[in-house]
């Protein structure tokens, strides 16, 4: 029961994210919005977001060792990366993704 958002036509080198969230929980809703914004801003042409609602697929979350929601997994490019939280701290996300941050001190 996952939804996939496609943007752009560049499957090679595309950023693929998997977002585990808990239905309409505030943090989950915010995470989805934040992830979408980051992707549009930094990889406007080459990203894909797969959304997994843990409330709908609870056993999948257990199988994939998802402890908290929301959790974002960067599936590609390798290496895999896990980010927890509603992604409100954008700098942390960018640093983790190896992208230049908005403001450099």
């Amino acid at each position: 029961m996952s939804e996939t958002f496609h943007t752009g036509d560049h499957p090679h080198g595309a950023y693929v994210f998997r977002l585990y969230l808990a239905g309409g929980a505030p943090n989950s809703v915010r995470a989805l919005a934040n992830l979408y914004a980051i992707c549009r801003k930094h990889f406007p042409d080459s990203h894909r977001i797969e959304v997994i609602d843990v409330l709908k697929e609870p056993l999948r979350a257990l199988a994939e060792a998802i402890v908290v929601t929301p959790t974002v997994v960067k599936v590609s490019p390798a290496p895999e990366l896990q980010i927890i939280g509603n992604l409100s701290e954008e700098d942390e996300v960018l640093r983790a993704l190896g992208l230049p941050q908005k403001e450099t001190p």
């Binding site: 995470a31 409330l55 257990l62 959790t71 927890i84 939280g85 701290e89 942390e92 996300v93």
Partner: protein
């Protein structure tokens, strides 16, 4: 209404951990949350897991284990070391959730447990889980890094557990040095109905584990700290504090191995009771313990010798020197000897070790030499507690136990034992050194022997290469004689006896001599009598002879006279003379 009432009644579920059920008055609160708190490495995970496992094994209760800190595989594998059949349990009753966060996880913004709880909810209803463990929740809380968020998530968890009527076990690390912990752990006990504090500390360089039920909502519980160990079969809690074994009537007597000591105790120790032998160093406590077990093996009973600080081989050799031979019984398997180094572990560990040895060997008789070694490490209170429980176990199993206890210094005079075990002991023998006449001698006294008549005498304990015994009691001037004095007394008694024997013998000889003399006299008299009677015969014969001779002579005279008359006719006279003479003799003989 009735549903409401049902929810209010506190029900408990047995944890299968005997001591834990004791201190909590029956186990964990059912459908409520229990919090296990403690420093690192104090046994929270093992305890929580054991509760889950024993529920699954004993009652078939399905359960879920959520591991936040350790890898779930690891936790399950560690459990295998305690002999729990994890692969089998994991097929049906147990489920492990690996909630161990990746070390390289990046945090950005707020998150919560909604997803995890939704997932667990699905799993729990799928397998019908009744118990759920959240192990090391502190790891997750640290990640939140916000006191308000921590409280919010704990509250969420608590609500979730209540809503699903799950029995929750939450473990959390306490680190006093870490800031923020105070607030965190101020809130946690609030959500829990039962809070258990685990601790591990060093006492005399030995690690001791202890637990304390800090709170138990709506239930009485033991507030004291109780020791526990993580033994070969998992957590064992020592908690029969204040529970005294019911005295049972024991009729059968068990020999002490010394016939004379048995006699002093009206037949020996009662079976299933415990005896304490106290004495200072070198008084022979171990020897008496060895003797007691040797006697047991000779009767075909099983025996266990737990020796602290002396290795088994030395002990066997030393005992052989006083004619106590354990080797054959060791070979036959009746006897088992275990040498334990006191420093190696805390008293609670020693207790568990002995308990396991008892379970393995099934002894009829047990010797622990010396029990006082337990005090050497980890404090007296814990040791006393362990000793009490050992007594309790032995009594239940009808094992006759001989404890020895070392008395040192002033204690020797005070007749107290370091463990205060003397009050628990059914029999108490004291070996002391009696100083007298420039010697130290071993003196044995029976201080008490419950439910049986016993001698009040102080007796000398004598060890020799032919064995061990109690010397005959000799008293002089109101004191029991020992050592040389006793030997002197014995010698004196022996000399006196010898003298008397001599005297009698001499008298007997004298009488015999007199009798022999009388015999001789009698013989002589008889001989004399015989001689005299013979003489008499001779005389009588002589008398007769002389008479006949006289007659002859008379005849001759007559003949001669006749001869003169008949000289003219000599030839006729000769013939006639012989004839009348012979005829005359015959006539006299017939007359006699």
């Amino acid at each position: 209404m009735s549903d409401r009432k049902h929810a209010d009644v506190l029900e408990k579920i047995s944890t299968g951990i005997e001591g834990f059920d004791d201190i909590t008055g029956g186990g964990l609160p059912q459908r409520r949350t229990t919090l296990l708190m403690g420093g690192p490495g104090c046994g929270k995970t093992v305890l929580a897991l054991q509760m889950l496992v024993s529920g699954a094994k004993q009652h078939g209760t399905p359960g879920i284990f959520v591991a936040f800190e350790e890898n779930a595989r690891q936790v399950s594998a560690n459990a295998g070391a305690f002999g729990w059949d994890m692969p089998e349990l994991e097929k049906k009753q147990l489920f492990f959730v690996d909630a161990c966060m990746r070390s390289d996880v990046v945090k950005s913004g707020a998150f919560d447990l909604t997803g995890l709880l939704a997932a667990l909810e699905a799993k729990a209803s799928e397998m019908g889980a009744k118990v759920i463990v959240f192990d090391a929740i502190d790891v997750l809380l640290s990640l939140l890094d916000d006191p308000a968020a921590e409280c919010r998530e704990l509250y969420r968890l608590h609500e979730w557990l209540l809503r699903h009527e799950l029995t929750g076990i939450i473990t959390t690390k306490i680190d006093d040095n870490k800031p923020g912990t105070a607030q965190r752990y101020g809130f946690m006990p609030f959500m829990a109905d039962c809070t258990v504090l685990l601790s591990q500390r060093l006492t005399d360089h030995v690690a001791m584990r202890a637990m304390r039920v800090v709170k138990y909502r709506g239930s009485p519980h033991i507030l004291n700290e109780v020791p526990f160990v993580i033994g070969p079969a998992g957590v064992e809690v020592g908690a029969t504090n204040g529970v005294h074994p019911e005295p049972q009537p024991f009729k059968e007597r068990v020999s002490t191995g010394i016939a004379r000591l048995d006699a002093m105790l009206s037949g020996g120790f009662y079976r299933g009771t415990n005896a304490l032998i106290t004495g200072s160093s070198g008084t022979g406590k171990s020897t008496l313990a060895g003797l007691f077990l040797e006697a047991a093996c000779r009767r075909g009973e099983r025996a266990l010798f737990v020796s602290f600080d002396e290795n088994a081989r030395d002990l066997v050799r030393d005992l052989a020197s006083v004619n106590v031979h354990l080797t054959p019984h060791l070979k036959s398997g009746l006897l088992r000897m275990e040498a334990v180094r006191t420093e190696a572990a805390a008293s609670e560990d020693h207790f568990i070790r002995i308990k396991h040895l008892i379970a393995e060997h099934h002894p009829d008789c047990l010797a622990v030499d010396p029990l006082s070694a337990l005090v050497k490490v980890g404090g007296e209170l814990a040791a006393t507690n362990a000793a009490e429980r050992l007594i309790y176990i032995c009594r239940n199993r009808r094992i006759t136990v001989l404890f020895t206890s070392l008395l040192e210094g002033a204690d020797m005079q005070m007749e107290t034992t370091p463990l205060h075990i003397s009050t628990l002991a059914d029999s108490w023998l004291q070996i002391s050194y009696a100083l007298h006449g420039g010697e130290r001698n071993r003196a044995l006294t029976i201080i008490k022997s419950r439910g049986s008549k016993h001698s009040n005498q102080m007796r000398e304990l004598v060890f020799s290469d032919t064995g061990i015994t109690l010397a005959d009691p000799y008293t002089a001037g109101g004191e029991v004689l020992m050592g040389t004095l006793r030997i002197e007394k014995e010698n004196a008694v022996r000399a006196e006896q010898e003298r008397k024997r001599h005297e009698i013998e001499q008298k007997r000889r004298e009488v015999e001599l007199v009798m022999a003399q009388r015999d001789l006299h009698l013989e002589a008299a008889q001989r004399d009598l015989r001689n005299r009677s013979e003489d008499l015969d001779t005389l009588k014969l002589a008398e007769k002879t002389s008479t006949s001779e006289q007659t002859q002579r008379q005849d001759e005279v007559v003949r001669r006279r006749d001869g003169q008359l008949l000289r003219d006719q000599p030839a006729r006279a000769k013939a006639d003379g012989r004839k009348p003479a012979s005829a005359g003799l015959k006539k006299r003989g017939s007359r006699l």
